[in-house]
Amino acid sequence: MSERVPLVRLDGVGKNYGNIIALRDVSLEVHAGEVACVLGDNGAGKSTLIKIIAGLHRHDTGTYEVQGEPVVFESPRDALDRGIATVYQDLAVVPLMPVWRNFFLGSEKRKAWGMLDVDFMRRTTKAELLRMGIDLRDVDQPIGTLSGGERQCVAIARAVYFGAKVLILDEPTAALGVKQAGVVLRYIVQARERGLGVVFITHNPHHAYPVGDRFLILNRGRVLGYHTKDEITREDLTSLMAGGAELQQLAHELESTSRTVAEELTE
């Protein structure tokens, strides 16, 4: 496995926002046909990491290679041109624009004379969303009028549609119901089977473990652990992520407070 050139390789990457150190010395490999999961608490630097991969931010230290070639992306366009598509946590949609225009924004399909191929784009948007189990009333409605989950699905469907080689998903299951979350996880597996490299960011180890091949756990901008699936169990992953001892203490505290509350109520 290590013989193959990874689609995306980060080595010792760091990023500062002014004097805030958001990431320090992070390494990650994403291979074709594999899912790399990035886990961590709020503010751990997960979004920062994928924004570097997606070309939205430039890394300050370390190297970033795409298919063995060091790159410094000027803009997300450069990353897209290399087949790296991203679903951002804030979804990167323009609320006032129709769903189909959002779907194709930045990668518009054109006919002769630079004319937009509106029919094709409407049809494709409708069909791709249907494949995700979203039966949209009207692809001409402003995307701002969709529910959070529906918007999430549009963003995912868009990235899947345009992600030629690498698909990055920043907490795609966070806003979703159980059924839609299942659909997204199945999408991730499908993408892996089609030979794409997937970077999957989540808070939820139960979503990450079944689909992931590698797990990068971040904490306050540093690497807490980087494991392949055969090195780590689901339980290890869960406790590593939440800081197992802390969680047990929290459980204790919650138990005792709920007991006192219960006592107060019975008085």
Binding site: A54, S75, A92, G114, D138, D140
Partner: protein
């Protein structure tokens, strides 16, 4: 349906039972131009009643001419506003453009067409500069163009006085190329016995082209996106900076066309002109349904806004009122139009 975009063929969504058949009224309600259209009808009826001369064909031609001189600029300004920016230098840039053509041709005794071409390059460069300053500094376009507004206003007067010793440029009426350039920029065309200024046709052409760009090209998609959510647009690969610079240059192009009309309609250019006009352009765009915050609006709406502007401007004259009242009316209309737009948009959002 998308307020940002027309939907000429809503057949795709046809088969869905949750989508109640959208009535024509509902579809109209969701158009950004609706408020302006209603306003135009009201203003038209009003002046038809109070001013007998208003309904004559020649009067209508005069109204259209007034509308076109502001409407041409409103095209560029409305696209820029949809793209989320303002250009306060637009008014004086028209004068700058006219002065460049007139002064350069006269001083160097060039064919006027050469002056026209030089003015084209200079004016577009000014638009580019506005855009570049905005993109490079990240300051609000309001501030950037306020600065260029004052600089251009000062330079217009300063350079003209230094060159001619006067506040106006020397007349270019007798110079080579005047008559042919006048035919293009400032002639009267005879339409069914009524003489109509050529600027009216330039205006309508610009509106058509701008509408096509907005609704049927990739650039149009980008314009709505950079106005509506620039960070999102950038994240999905839209060249935000280039789009914004292009929009400032679009305003400059309109300023050039308007400037050339000034030169060839009057032969001399008053260097103090144009100050304050930038607000009229913005008013046309806002009455036409462009959102001040960007991401929403249409070129057709801005054209209707300019038409209202022209009707009010000339209607007051035909009604034989004191023209001082024009600005009062304009302000009242702006207030009314923005309130109507607000109500319409709320209704539309609720109707989903």
């Amino acid at each position: 349906m998308g307020q940002a975009v027309a939907d000429p063929s809503p057949k795709v969504a046809g088969g869905d039972e949750r989508l109640a058949q959208r009535s024509l009224a509902r579809r109209l309600l969701s158009r950004p131009e609706l408020g302006a259209l209603l306003g135009a009808v009201v203003v038209f009826v009003f002046f038809s009643v109070v001013a007998d001369a208003f309904l004559r064909a020649e009067s209508f031609s005069t109204v259209l001419y007034a509308a076109s001189t502001f409407g041409i600029m409103a095209v560029g300004v409305s696209l820029l506003m949809i793209g989320g920016e303002f250009d306060l230098s637009a008014g004086v840039m028209v004068t700058t453009s006219a002065l460049v053509a007139a002064l350069v041709s006269y001083q160097l005794t060039l064919n006027l067409w050469v002056g026209v071409a030089i003015s084209f390059v200079v004016t577009l460069a000014l638009g580019f500069l506005n855009g570049l300053l905005y993109v490079k500094t990240g300051l609000p376009s309001f501030i950037i163009t306020l600065a260029t507004f004052f600089m251009l206003a000062g330079a217009n007067l300063g350079v003209t006085k230094a060159v001619t010793g006067n506040v106006a440029s020397d007349s270019v009426r007798d110079m080579d190329g005047f008559s042919s350039a006048r035919a293009v920029f400032a002639s009267q065309l005879d339409i069914g016995g009524v003489s109509v200024n050529i600027t009216v046709f330039w205006w309508l052409l610009l509106v058509a082209v701008a509408t096509w760009i907005l609704l049927r090209t990739r650039i149009g998609n980008w314009i709505f996106a950079v106005g509506g959510a620039p960070a999102s647009a950038r994240a999905v690969g839209v060249p935000v900076d280039r789009t914004k610079i292009g929009l400032f240059m679009g305003v400059a192009f309109c300023a050039w066309l308007s400037g050339m009309h000034l030169v060839f309609a009057f032969a001399t250019v008053q260097s103090g002109e144009g100050v304050g006009n930038e607000f009229f352009y913005i008013i046309c765009a806002v009455i036409g349904g462009c959102l001040l915050t960007g991401g929403y609006g249409s070129a057709v709406g801005a054209a209707i806004g300019a038409f209202i502007f022209g009707m009010t401007n000339k209607g007051i004259v035909y009604a034989e009122w004191n023209p001082d009242w024009f600005k009062f009316f304009l302000g009242a209309m702006l207030l009314l139009a923005t309130v109507v737009n607000l109500v319409v948009r709320r209704r539309m959002e609720q109707s989903r």
